[in-house]
Amino acid sequence: MRNGRAFWLFVGPFAVGLLVFVYVPIGWSLLLSFFDARNTVTPTEFVGLRNYVDMLTDGPFLSSLGTFSVFAAFIVPLTFVLALALALLVNQIGFMQSFFRSVFFLPTACSYVVASLVWKLSIFNGVRFGLANTVLGWFGAEPVAWTVSTSPPWYWLVLVTLRLWLQLGFYMILFIAGLQRIPQHLYEAAWIDGARPGWQTLRYITMPQLRTTSVAVLLLLLIAAYQAFDEFYNVLGTDRGYPPFARPPLIYLYYTALGSGGQDFGHGSAGAVILTLLIAGVTLVQGKVITR
């Protein structure tokens, strides 16, 4: 009995918060997705699956899903490999290990908005005295309008470097934690059996032992890729809306549901449900493939 009370004392507030601020809105959003809900959250006109059909035949939404599937296919492995490499490096050094760990982890503590503004306004601005353009200038190159140019699409360079800088440290920490849980005697046994340190032990000892961590990291990376919003909104968004390229699904839905003159919660919710199902589907498939 006492235990029961303590349980609810500790869990209760979180459960209530979760219910009120997460599950009720999710349920409500599901409900809205079946209604014509323009400028209202208590709609009366039931439209069945029409919002879903609209969204799935809607050019911009589909193209943003497509773009971000490509983005995920690119950024997930890249972040994974780089974070793992960083973790292996930092984990090997005996000297100042915690210093390097902290230094690489530090960007995670930086606000996405602040980092976006630094990238956009100071490093990759398009005028000749921007940092990147100054460096180009040393080699006699013309200034590049980094966030504007669409051929070649330099804005991807801005967005990908920004995302890597912000995220790598966090995943590196996850990998280091995983690495430190691998028992040393496995490596010793492998050496006795003639495995060479380096690629062989990485392939046959480290990677299999890191499987749980790897699955978690891949899942988080994938979800983060589809949920991209902050840095895209702050780097490419203007007061006149968002350009039609590199437009994350969430930004498109944000303008649909909350844009001025928009307030179309029916289509917005339907899009959100589609996106959720997509993430869940891809995650399940990925989990199946990896843990097989």
């Binding site: 908005v113 398009g126 140019s149 669409t150 902050d230 203007t238 006149r240 350009p243 003159g261 307030q263």
Partner: protein
């Protein structure tokens, strides 16, 4: 103003949202009317509007100042019962159709003839007035006279002359024109349509479903590929920094920039409307105004309407103070604009003339988010990617047509 506000809200959205909850009004006793403003950038405006509200004798009024993303906050609050009684915004047809706004024709009354008609039109939906214009803002082209003289270029009167001027003014590290970091697609889309006599929406029909539209937007592409545009500046088009720092010979920005430009360049600058392209078109300036509106969910609609009538119709002295004492706006009442000494000379006088002769609504009530996204996407793809203009605009027109059909049947 709209543009600058949006820009600010984007740049500092997260930082400012934290401050959103602060109610700077007097403590509510449940009896006061709630009035909302977005955060004006000019110092003194907040104190001024609080002073106006305090001077109203019949009902106490609580003024709430809203930094951050005002549009989203307002739109959300209008869905609930907790919204303001009186607020400032520009009317959208979606809000009118959802029954969120109270018609104010009886409040405007005889003063209707004193408001400039192009401004009042942007606050009229289905023949009814939903907002009482408070302050007019407009965008125009600023040019540097000395750079024009040195290059032997005359102020452009056609779009082709504009492109030519931009090319010839590009030299010695100075670019010809700055029209936004996206290369002008977003802010010049409307002016390009107007330059050939087309429009966003006209008489409930798509206004740009015409081969001429492709020609007009194609000119923006020509400008974009001319190598004479400044791209990726630190501050976007709403701030005159690129112009005042001498990075460009021309910049597209707004009336609000006049004091800053004057301070930096003295009288070494002039202003122009966006020129025409063909004889079917006309020079244009995009114009918009925030208006005072009444929330249809308010429990005290009559009191709210009476307050709005008092503040924005009766107290013309307040409208003059609001428009001219802090920032730089044009009073929407012609009788007030006429006697404003600040607006009788230089760039400001030109701006007043443009608003009278060349005004086009920058944000018409029936230009909805769906249409805006479709059009801006099309223009952006043409201007930045070189996509075929005719095909892109036909696609956007189709979307706009579906939306108009939904709105008007």
């Amino acid at each position: 103003m709209i543009s600058r506000r949006r820009l600010l809200s984007l740049a500092g959205a997260s930082a400012l949202l934290a401050a959103c909850g602060s109610n700077t009004g007097r403590g509510g006793d449940g009896q006061a009317l709630k009035q909302w403003y977005h955060a004006y950038g000019e110092p003194g405006v907040q104190q001024a509007v609080e002073r106006y509200a305090k001077a109203y004798q019949r009902t106490p009024v609580d003024v709430q100042w809203n930094p951050g993303d005002y549009d989203s906050k307002l739109a959300t609050s209008l869905l609930s019962d907790g919204g303001p009684d009186v607020f400032e915004s520009t009317p959208q047809i979606s809000a009118v159709r959802a029954g969120q706004l109270v018609p104010l024709d009886d409040v405007v009354g005889d003063a209707k003839n004193d408001f400039s008609s192009s401004i009042l039109a942007t606050h009229t939906v289905d023949g009814k007035i939903y907002g009482i214009p408070q302050a007019v803002d407009m965008q125009m082209l600023f040019y540097r006279k000395s750079l024009f003289d040195r290059a032997g270029v005359r102020p452009p009167t056609t779009v082709d002359e504009l492109i030519d001027a931009s090319r010839r003014l590009t030299r010695d590290g100075v670019k010809g024109l700055f029209a936004g970091n996206d290369g002008g697609g977003a802010v010049l889309g409307g002016p390009a349509l107007w330059s050939v006599g087309l429009d966003y929406v006209r008489d409930h029909q798509v206004g740009f479903d015409d081969p001429l539209a492709a020609t007009a937007i194609g000119k923006l592409r020509e400008l974009h590929t001319s190598g004479s545009l400044l791209l990726g500046a630190v501050k976007d088009w709403a701030e005159p920094d690129a112009f005042t720092q001498g990075l460009v010979a021309m910049q597209w920005t707004g009336l609000w920039a006049v004091p800053a430009v004057q301070k930096a360049l003295g009288d070494d600058f002039g202003v122009l409307p966006f020129p025409k392209l063909t004889d079917s078109g006309r020079p244009s300036v995009p114009v918009g105004a925030f208006g005072a509106m009444v929330n249809a969910k308010s429990k005290r609609i009559d009191e709210a309407k009476e307050f709005v009538r008092w503040l924005w119709i009766e107290r013309t002295d307040y409208q003059e103070d609001f428009n001219l004492s802090y920032g730089f706006h044009i009073p929407p009442r012609e009788s007030i604009a006429a006697k404003a000494s600040k607006l009788t000379s230089g760039a400001a006088a030109d701006a007043v003339k443009f608003v009278r002769d060349n005004a086009k609504a920058s944000n018409p009530p029936d230009w909805t988010q769906v249409m805006r996204t479709a059009f801006n996407d099309a223009v952006s793809r043409v201007v930045r990617d070189g996509a075929p203009a005719g095909q892109e605009l036909r696609g956007a027109a189709q979307k706009a047509r579906d939306e108009l059909k939904r709105l008007y049947g």
